[in-house]
Amino acid sequence: MRAPSLGHRAHFAWWGALLRRLSGLALAVFLPLHFLALGLAADAAALDTFLDWTRAPLVRASEIALAAALVVHLVSGVQLLVQELWPW
């Protein structure tokens, strides 16, 4: 028998909400860093140095993780929009 306090975790929507928040948090942290990185374009040499740095394997790996977070956020966000707006 499932513990009553864990009942809410049996719901698909609960996991959707958690994944949407976690992926959204990652994307929200990335957003200002992305803006600041683009701001380096004020000095083309500084941006090129930064772009060289992004070719490091660890940065590439975090870019893949970020793309995965974006896909998760997008899919669960579209699912939520359809759920709320579609005339069922």
Binding site: R21, F35, A44
Partner: protein, 105 residues
């Protein structure tokens, strides 16, 4: 602003981000045909005033969606109820985003 209005703004920005994100993805795929460089990025954004304007609107939309999303997380997980920090966060995100759009213009 009422909770309902904030909820509506979050849903409207999500729809806008879907559309503008699709455009951004196409730009990204085209840009990645060659190694990324400052010259290539600036050549693209300088080609037409459309791009800095597009990215300014995109940045404001993303900043608004992110700030409202972080507000939800802060309320649910940390119990933060205040509004000042949320408005402050939104202002900083919009400012940094518009600064980037201005620099690539």
């Amino acid at each position: 602003m009422t909770e309902f209005r904030l909820f509506l703004i979050q849903r409207i920005t999500s729809g806008l981000l879907l559309l503008m994100g699709a455009v951004h993805l196409v730009v990204l795929l085209v840009a990645m045909q060659a190694p990324l460089s400052a010259a290539a990025i600036l050549a693209r954004t300088h080609a037409s005033p459309f791009w800095p304007a597009f990215y300014a609107v995109f940045a404001i939309t993303a900043a608004t969606h992110a700030a409202l999303g972080l507000r939800v997380i802060a309320r649910e997980w940390l119990g933060w109820r205040g509004t000042a920090w949320g408005i402050g966060l939104w202002t900083v995100l919009v400012a940094v985003g518009l600064r980037a759009a201005w620099i690539i213009a």
